[in-house]
């Protein structure tokens, strides 16, 4: 199991150090600093083994979080834990940086004591932790602040079956916000052939519901829809066109996985507030919102011409936003002349790229940019090093490129007197660019 956990700043100074096991001693701290943080060459692995001790690290902002073990630990668990630990800290004090870690070190020690016992991860849900580890020590400052019932409520929640929700939550207005957020990832060859494309989607929820409601969530998943069709008398053609084939999905721990496995129903008791209900991945029939067509010509030894055509490919009534096309330029660029039909374009020497921004763009439109790049005539070698990185782009569109639709979201709370109809529900679809690249 995890033998120790350290947090460093970017210089390699220790901000937090907590040792859980005797087999790890304090000088492991130095070993990691010397061999990883101060290492001259690029880091070749997130796991390093030195003197039979393994160091796992993740970097967040300018802070290194490192776990140490001298056993054959579950590596996936250690990394999941490190990420979760970082998330928990963020949910307590915002951005994870040196300043904030120093400002909250007492709190962090308290957290570390709670979420890791002898190197075994315990309950790491920030929502639950916040019920008894408070930032100001407010709850614990007064001599006997907590009543007996409250105490046992805390402990039963930490260990309980529904560790993510406490009882007795009340809202005047029961509301649910549901965002379907999809990241479209694309790798397209120069010739316009799709090398790989997938959508990584997530369903993010904000729930403000009273009591212990049970929710049921339905989407136009191919398996469910087709299963229904076989039973009912619907037109199979129509339905399957509207259905989406999900390659794989993962759920928040509140979802009853067994029920999903047998009945394909997504049923859960939601945590209070914000959380990520599910993640999914699709690869078939993705509606790619944009097509980028780059044309690069080296006209002479020290001149290049780049033309990029951008085509939007969705319903004309919809508007895409925050469009940004990034065209890489060689490092020895001396000057760039730009002409674009729409939006604004600028050459950013520091980033070795031309950045073309368009605020809004409707569906089924086309726009174009052309650039003339002057190159310094340097030796041959440097030119070779430029390996033409792909043209990448960012955007946001108001639909789900995978075709996923929310069919229903029902809320049942048998003990309190509100029904599904009383809950106000908001649904929103957002399609964003993940890695959206076209080689040139």
């Amino acid at each position: 199991m995890i033998g120790g956990l350290f947090v460093y700043n970017h210089k390699g100074e220790v901000l937090i150090s907590r040792i859980y096991r005797d087999d790890v001693n304090r000088n492991a701290v130095d070993a990691f600093r010397v061999n990883v943080i101060h290492a001259r060459q690029q880091i070749r692995s997130p796991v390093t083994n030195m003197a039979r001790t393994s160091f796992f690290h993740v970097k967040r902002g300018n802070v290194w979080v490192c776990a140490v073990s001298r056993q054959n630990v579950n590596a996936a668990m250690v990394f999941e834990f490190l990420n979760r630990f970082a998330d928990t800290m963020q949910s307590y004090f915002g951005k994870l940086n040196e300043e904030n870690v120093k400002n909250n070190f007492v709190l962090i020690y308290e957290l570390l004591d709670e979420i890791l016992d002898f190197g075994y991860p315990q309950n790491t849900d920030p929502g639950v932790l916040k019920t008894f580890i408070t930032q100001q020590g407010v709850r614990t400052a007064a001599p006997v602040p907590v009543t007996k019932e409250e105490q046992s409520q805390i402990t039963s929640q930490v260990t309980g079956q529904i560790g993510w929700r406490r009882e007795g939550i009340k809202y005047r207005r029961n509301e649910l916000f549901l965002d379907v957020i999809e990241y479209v990832n694309l790798l397209m060859s120069q010739q316009g052939q799709v090398l790989s494309a997938h959508v990584a989607g997530k369903v993010a929820m904000k729930s403000y519901l009273s009591g212990m409601p049970e929710c049921k969530f339905g989407i136009n998943d191919k398996i469910t829809i087709e299963g229904k069709n076989r039973a009912g008398a619907d037109d199979p053609n129509k339905a399957s066109r509207a259905a989406v084939a999900i390659d794989d999905c993962q759920f928040h721990q509140c979802v009853k996985l067994n029920k999903f496995d047998t009945e394909h129903a997504i049923s859960f008791i939601p945590p209070d507030g914000e959380y990520e209900l599910m993640r999914y991945r699709t690869t078939k029939d993705i509606q790619l919102p944009f097509r980028v067509i780059p044309l690069v010509r080296e006209t002479s030894r020290n001149k290049m011409e780049v033309k990029v055509v951008l085509k939007s490919n969705f319903k004309p009534s919809l508007l895409a936003q925050k469009i940004e096309v990034r065209i890489p330029t060689p490092p020895h660029t001396s000057g760039v002349q730009l002409i674009c039909m729409k939006g604004k374009a600028r050459y950013r020497a520091g980033e070795n790229a031309i950045v073309w921004k368009i605020k809004r763009m409707g569906g089924m439109k086309e726009s174009q940019i052309s650039a003339e790049i002057d190159l310094l005539s340097t030796g041959n070698t440097e030119k070779k090093k430029w390996n033409r990185p792909p043209v990448s782009m960012n955007f946001e569109v108001p639909f789900a490129p995978s075709g996923l639709k929310v069919r229903y979201l029902k809320v049942f709370e048998p003990k309190l007197n509100y029904s599904d109809h009383d809950v106000i529900k908001w649904v929103r679809y957002i399609g964003r660019s993940g890695l959206y690249e076209t080689r040139c």
Binding site: V58, F79, K102
Partner: protein
Amino acid sequence: MTDSKYFTTTKKGEIFELKTELNSDKKEKKREAVKKVIASMTVGKDVSALFPDVVNCMQTDNLELKKLVYLYLMNYAKSQPDLAIMAVNTFVKDCEDPNPLIRALAVRTMGCIRVEKITEYLCEPLRKCMKDQDPYVRKTAAVCVAKLHDMNPTLVEEQGFVELLNDLLSDAIPMVVANAVAALSEINEQRSLIEVNSQMVNKLLTALNECTEWGQVFILDALAGYAPRDEREAQNICERISPRLAHANAAVVLSTVKVLMKLIEQLPNDSDFITQLTRKLAPPMVTLLSAEPEIQYVALRNINLIVQKRPDILKQEMKVFFVKYNDPIYVKMEKLDIMIRLAQQSNIAQVLSELKEYATEVDVDFVRKSVRAIGRCAIKVEQSSERCVQTLLELIQTKVNYVVQEAVVVIKDIFRKYPNRYESIISTLCENLDTLDEPEARASMIWIIGEYAERIDNADELLESFLDGFHDENTQVQLQLLTAVVKLFLKRPQDTQQLVQKVLSLATQDSDNPDLRDRGYIYWRLLSADPAAAKQVVLAEKPLISEETDLLEPSLLDQLVCHIGTLASVYHKPPNSFIDTARQPLRQINNSASNHTAAAAADILGSASVSSAPQPAVIPAQDNLIADLLSLDIAAPTPGVSAGMSAAPMPTTGGDFDDLLGGIGGGMGGGADLSGLGGIGGGIGGGLAGFEDGNQAAAGNAGIGLSDWFGGSSAQTQGVQLPRQVWLDAAANMGLQLEGTVVRRNGMITLDMTITNKAMQAMSGFAVQFNKNSFGLLPAEPLQVNAPLFPGQTINVSLPCNTDGPVQRMDPLTNLQS
């Protein structure tokens, strides 16, 4: 509210100031002071002097303050065992507190204080807490048993805590079950006390659905160690755990994959159930590739194993392993590996065009690997070889040095796979002869020239050009050169006689390398005795190289599949090759001594036990004392020893260490005898011939074993004989068990060893080899084991040693400390 101010005090006399503040009457001031102490502790300052003052703050009803004091206690209790006792009462009292949070906190902290006297007091409260009515206390107590076991295994067994843990497996609260199973698994790792049975598995499977994500990982990992009675049970477990594949936590997913992969083995090979199950496995693994890069890396390393074990699972998923421009380099390298494994005729076109793209990237290692991958595609998929060779030629034209070298190496392999097909490109290769400066590339090129000497008109000139710098070449190149020239001679005897004479004399007369010399002599005799036979031998048709040269060995692969998700699967090494399996009470001392041999980083690790925690002021047992002395050169000497050192004169002859320890021996034992230093930390690695036929892993273990045993067994004074210790364990060393000790007999250091054959076959040809060590320790005579050692037989041998061998110089390790 900003805590960072606590980090900033750097004044002198700080400790004194803190002391006053800690003893202040004002609660607020006290708390501030404790925070400052913790901050100093964090940055590595030694604040152990404040121990009594901090412990005094323990009696408080402020939970935050209490937690801080506990944190301090955990860090420093070991260095102040007598004072730590002061805290016991508070602990015991807190274990009875009405607030379950405090009860749990007390028992949790108490378990972390590794002081024997406190451990005694821990048993009763712990027993109570394990039966506490509050689940939070019970789950904490479960882990505490593992802590206790780590300190004192016999106590845990005697006090019946294992049975209590076993009872917790039936607890109604899943999290208690999960922690209990985690603790039990850890205890079982060292000594199997409780067998996982089907009843237990049922309980675990029930708890699985309802516990936290981490609990699910513990349970799944424990299930991986269970062998179902029959097919039906295996299938049942598979069905019950496979829903976990949809969990958002990658560790849960991978542990589920591990259990499934293991259980699949138990099911009949062709059943529909397996097909269904394997179909379920692919999507979640692909999904892991969109997680954080570190998790992607772990997933990829594991996918690499799974692809080797069951290639069909992911054969359709080639595209997801295409490298993204922004992937970290470690993800890129792994993806490339898997791409090659998945390459087959149907997708080769795509793979090749990707690889070609990668070969123009910036990162040198990645480019090299890509070039190599192209070659491997050619070997793996015959239909694509033409295109691969074409691609490689194009890459050679780029004249980028490392690309060319890498291409030459793989082209050699392609020649070996498809002889007489692509020789037309040799001329292009020869053009780049001058740019090759890496041994492997040079050796490959020389091999090509020798192999196709009859088609290269100026082969003799080319080879001759290499001969001038023969002695500066790497052995690999020298060997290749020798063989190539002999081949050339056999093919064109008329004009190359001189050349072959020259290379043979270079190899046999001027070289110190036995391999090279032997090969030279063999060729020489072959050529002079019977040129026809030489032709048959040297120019014999070579077997074609196989497609997959880099697959893991099947037995290792099977072992690693059982460790999916763990470090072993990330390193692709069996666990005992990177962790200490022997966790004896002496462990710590062993560690500090064995670190002599380890790299600089290791020394930093090892020395801390001494520097941060001075040894308790008790007179230790003989071997302990000497072990303590051994850590001398790592950290500052403890007072008692330095007296001994100054009493003895320091002679100037011999190795530094001899003198040092001789002096200590004098001061300590009263005699001038050199306390048998047994090559402390010298790392007499390797070479008992008994396991020479073993695989690398076994040899590795032997080295490890040997460096470890120096810790405990290294020295003793005359007349006292240390009990024999197990140096090499039969289980880890192919049945060869070696026990031994070091004695001083007739003024000579002697290794007394007992060799036991626990393997199935007789062993013979024993030999011992000492690595160059800091004491110049060498065997004075060869190891005398005449008769073969039959299975089950035991033999005693003693090996006198001299200390006049080559000395491995070591800088004083204290220099490393900053």
